[in-house]
């Protein structure tokens, strides 16, 4: 028989892993976006 507490811990770890993965992806996307914004601003000569 499954231990319900163990199941809950597994669920928590799985949620934490998937949230960490999504956060990492979003942060990487933001790094790329900020880099591109900087390039666009340099190119257009705006502050």
């Amino acid at each position: 028989m499954n231990d319900p507490r163990r199941d809950e811990e597994d669920l928590i770890r799985a949620r934490q892993r998937s949230r960490a993965r999504v956060t990492a992806l979003l942060l990487a996307a933001l790094v790329v976006l900020f880099f591109l914004i900087s390039i666009a601003k340099i190119r257009s000569g705006t502050p």
């Binding site: 507490r5 928590i12 998937s18 591109l36 914004i37 666009a40 601003k41 190119r43 257009s44």
Partner: protein, 300 residues
């Protein structure tokens, strides 16, 4: 030795955070914001244009999250909304509040730093208007909730234009007026066929408080100034004939559907087909009008 029985908090899934941003509503917000940006008489760097639209989308998501944070009790009472993350118990209210505030502040700061301060200021006003004026103040108090609250949804084309030009002009103000005046017929058509849901939740929507006769009349009345706001940019020389012809035809069809709703009476076992048709077309109507605005700018 005793076993610890305190339940562990299960963190919400990232998909629930996404659901908190109301992606369905965001589509129209992003589209009208993009059209406001593209209709402006300047060409924006694509990266900066993308950033401006991203900020509008994030701000809309933040406003949606804060709306759901404040209204979780109301959402639990309505069939249409009881599956949302908070009333369904998949997320705690504090997470929703932190997410909404964080997203909103980030969107405004990014708009201010990457685009311009005017666009950031209007963006901040639009979030605060939706959350404080509509959600907190008006929605549970008056049947005029969506009339005044409609202004919150009218900001995106203004923000898009301000992002591209750093100023506000007559054309985006007409677009603001159009969405503002479109909101009452759009939402009251919906409220006519989900009336019992609103009544059960205690939301004083016009059909619940004033009855269907008054609501039908108000739908008809609001359509008149809406039509003026939609068509006026053409004779005023703010757009060309492409927009003028499309806006006139689409508005005439909208007015026909609204006239049908305004002049009929609810029958026993009424399936509310004209109201459903008006509601469905009202969404397509905004896509058509704003799409025509952009085509007019580039083709004429």
């Amino acid at each position: 030795m005793t076993t610890m029985t305190r339940p562990l908090p299960v963190p919400a899934d990232w998909r629930d955070f996404l659901a908190l941003t109301k992606p369905g509503v965001m589509r129209l917000v992003v589209f009208t914001g993009l059209c406001g940006l593209l209709a402006a008489p300047v060409t924006m760097d694509p990266i900066l244009g993308f950033t401006a639209i991203l900020c509008i989308a994030l701000a809309a998501g933040a406003a949606g999250a804060l709306n759901q944070w404040y209204e979780s009790d109301l959402d639990a009472k309505m069939k249409r909304t009881r599956g949302r993350p908070l009333p369904a118990g998949r997320m705690d209210r504090q997470s929703a509040l932190h997410f909404g505030v964080g997203l909103g502040v980030f969107a405004v700061i990014l708009m201010g730093l990457a685009i311009n301060l005017l666009a950031a200021a209007i963006l901040a006003v639009s979030i605060l208007f939706y959350v404080l004026i509509y959600t907190v103040w008006l929605k549970r108090r008056t049947p005029q909730n969506i009339v005044i609250g409609g202004a919150a949804g009218a900001f995106p084309p203004l923000i898009g234009w301000a992002a591209a030009t750093d100023h506000v002009a007559a054309l985006p103000l007409f677009m603001f007026a159009l969405i503002f005046l479109w909101t009452p017929p759009h939402f009251w058509a919906l409220a006519m066929f989900v009336k019992s849901d609103y009544a059960n939740a205690g939301v004083p929507m016009l059909p619940v408080v004033a009855g269907e006769r008054v609501t039908r009349t108000q739908i008809g009345l609001y359509t008149v100034p809406m039509a003026v706001a939609a068509i006026a940019p053409w004779p005023l020389g703010l757009t060309h004939a492409i927009y003028g012809v499309v806006a006139t035809a689409a508005t005439a069809f909208f007015a026909l559907l609204a006239f049908r709703v305004a002049t009929r009476r609810t029958q026993p076992e009424d399936r509310m087909r004209p109201e459903k048709r008006l509601f469905a077309f009202s969404i397509a109507y905004l896509f058509v009008i704003f799409g025509a605005l952009v085509v007019d700018r580039f083709a004429a």
